[in-house]
């Protein structure tokens, strides 16, 4: 058996093992009937009605909790987030908090901007490159040492001197290697213009950071910590209710929980509390296209801690959701590598190999400024400092 066949067989063996393990694990999942019961209870009595009558919802939700518990599915209203500080206290709508300006939130990975339309320089990158059996070479969006790649979806790369490089056979035919090269972009195609050499996989950009958006509140921690709050409604359960209430208010695009690291620690944490940080440190952050005061008033009925509301003049959630699907079909137009929903900022991050100012302008005109943000993937040494990727 050839090495390639052996390795292809190994891939299929691992696939079979993955299937078996997932099947085994799925058997331990909660039942679909349980999910249905929970969803029906919440759907019929839950926060969706808060918009019309913010007071009435507390009674049916608590009643539903009792019913669910008595039918042995009481876990439906618990979660790892809940502590035992008990039921939500009566609302106190008199307290209000200031809203905050829309300040930038950091995004984890290198975040490089668009290219000027007249950019005339070259690009440099380290990337996996796969040569198909027909001789066409394409850049892979990732580094890979796995030969069972059916294909790579990046730009065509012309001028790779394969015979002078170390490469490995690909399962589907052709060969691949992880390479560092300089190239010029012409009509969506990369033409090699400089040295090409093998590099270790670890020098290739990793996109995993995009899944970890920094938990930064748009509001100042110290300022919020000083706001009047109701201690009886600063619990994990109250935060959870607050999030549910917030997303039900018209115009709200996103709500999330943040932690105020400036708050003075109190020794009241119990095992199981999230990240060892008590509820007294939490901030409920909300972005809305509507009236910030309405959000604050609604949230204050259930959550007694700090609230940070910021304005958002972009698309609502459903529209952005649809836009994500639309743009995913326009990959060639924007030289798209990936398209991510940045929930914290309620926007789409479109990773493009080489986005330009005019592309960004076009997206701004079509969908509103800030709805879709282009992120550049290829390095432009004449613009970026320091250049990425580093030499190994």
């Amino acid at each position: 058996m050839s090495a390639t066949n052996r390795e292809g067989r190994a891939d299929r063996e691992l696939e079979a093992r993955v299937r078996a393990v997932l099947d085994e694990q799925a058997a331990d999942a909660p039942s679909g009937a349980h999910v249905l019961a929970r969803a029906r209870a919440v759907g019929e009595h839950g926060p969706a009605r808060v918009v019309r009558d913010r007071r009435r919802w507390l009674v049916p939700v608590l009643a539903a909790a009792v019913v669910l518990a008595s039918t042995a599915i009481g876990v439906a209203v618990r979660g790892p987030f809940e502590d035992s500080n008990g039921p939500v206290s009566p609302p106190d709508p008199t307290t209000s908090l200031p809203t905050a300006p829309d300040t930038p939130v950091r995004v984890g990975p290198p975040f490089r901007g668009v290219l000027p339309d007249d950019y005339d320089g070259d690009f440099v990158t380290s990337a996996g490159v796969l040569q198909d059996p027909d001789g066409t070479s394409r850049m892979c969006g990732i580094a890979s040492d796995v030969q069972y790649l059916p294909g790579c979806g990046g730009p065509v790369v012309e001028g790779i001197p394969w015979s002078a490089l170390d490469s490995q056979p690909a399962e589907a035919g052709g060969r691949f290697a992880t390479l560092r090269f300089e190239a010029r972009l012409e009509d969506g195609r990369l033409d090699v213009v400089g040295e090409v050499r093998n590099v270790p996989r670890r020098t290739v950009r990793d996109d995993s950071g995009y899944e970890e958006v920094a938990d930064v509140s748009p509001c100042s921690g110290r300022e919020l910590a000083a706001q009047p709050t109701d201690p009886s409604r600063i619990t994990a359960a109250a935060m959870r209710s607050g999030l549910d209430v917030a997303v039900g208010v018209p115009g709200v695009t996103v709500a999330w929980q943040d932690t105020n690291d400036d708050a003075t620690a109190r020794p009241t944490q119990r095992p199981g509390q999230v990240s060892g940080r008590g509820a007294h440190r939490w901030i409920l952050d909300v972005r809305t296209t509507g009236d910030p005061d309405a959000v604050v008033a609604a949230v204050r009925e259930v959550w007694g801690g700090p609230v940070c509301v910021t304005g958002d003049d972009r698309l609502d959630f459903d529209a952005l959701y649809d836009l994500q699907a639309t743009l995913s079909q326009e990959g060639e137009r924007y030289l798209t590598r990936d398209l991510l929903y940045d929930e914290r900022r309620h926007r789409l991050l479109l990773e493009s190999y080489a986005p330009t100012e005019s592309m960004q302008d076009e997206l701004n005109q079509r969908y509103g400024e800030g709805s879709v943000v282009l992120v550049r993937w290829l390095d432009a040494p004449e613009l970026d400092s320091p250049a990425y990727p580093p030499d190994d």
């Binding site: 390795e7 190994a10 979806g153």
Partner: protein, 184 residues
């Protein structure tokens, strides 16, 4: 308008038909029963809220999978679920919680499947999602690409990376794994 008002009979039928799939898929995505219940519930509520769009989708299951992925991101941000703790069967009816922070722990003491289960649990969300949707849910790459809002090539890349990571976690390489089998 509440959720109930928009719940059509077709939506109810869809929910009943896919409830088990939702629950299991959510469990495989989160690795935690409570988190799975929350995720499946949130997804189902979103399905009811947006039923016309789900019904009109070319592949409703892929559309719902995408809703679940977005709900998962939302849940992680809201609850700060920094790790995945997956309960795996010990083979005797009991379960134990695995530690994705150290998937190689107790490698010698557990069966191969448990080690693989831990390695899957330790994968980044998108890589694990690709494995779940492709090998458990049997969605094709186009549907998975829709669910993850990416291109098919990205799906393939994520799968390749997942397999490379699994081999790394298991201490296997592609040739040594078969070498032992061939020599038997």
């Amino acid at each position: 308008m509440g959720v109930e008002a928009s719940r059509a009979p077709d939506a109810e039928a869809f929910a009943e038909r896919h409830a088990d799939w939702l629950a299991r898929c959510a469990y495989l995505m989160t690795g935690d029963r409570e988190a799975a219940l929350d995720l499946a519930q949130d997804t189902l509520l979103a399905v009811w809220r947006s039923w016309p769009k789900v019904a009109a989708a070319e592949d409703p299951q892929a559309y719902v999978a995408r809703m679940m992925m977005n709900a998962l991101r939302s849940a992680k941000r809201r609850k700060r679920l920094s790790t995945v703790s997956l309960q795996v069967s010990a083979g005797d009816g009991r379960t134990r919680t695995i530690d994705p922070a150290d998937p190689s722990r107790d490698h010698d003491a557990v069966e191969d499947r448990d080690a693989l289960g831990r390695a899957i649990a330790a994968l980044p969300d998108r890589q694990r999602a690709v494995l779940v949707l492709r090998y458990w849910s049997d969605l094709d790459d186009a549907a998975i690409a829709h669910a993850l809002a990416c291109r098919r090539s990205t799906v393939r890349s994520l799968a390749a990376r997942a397999f490379a990571a699994l081999r790394g976690q298991l201490g296997e390489d592609r040739t040594s794994y078969l070498r032992g089998r061939d020599e038997r």
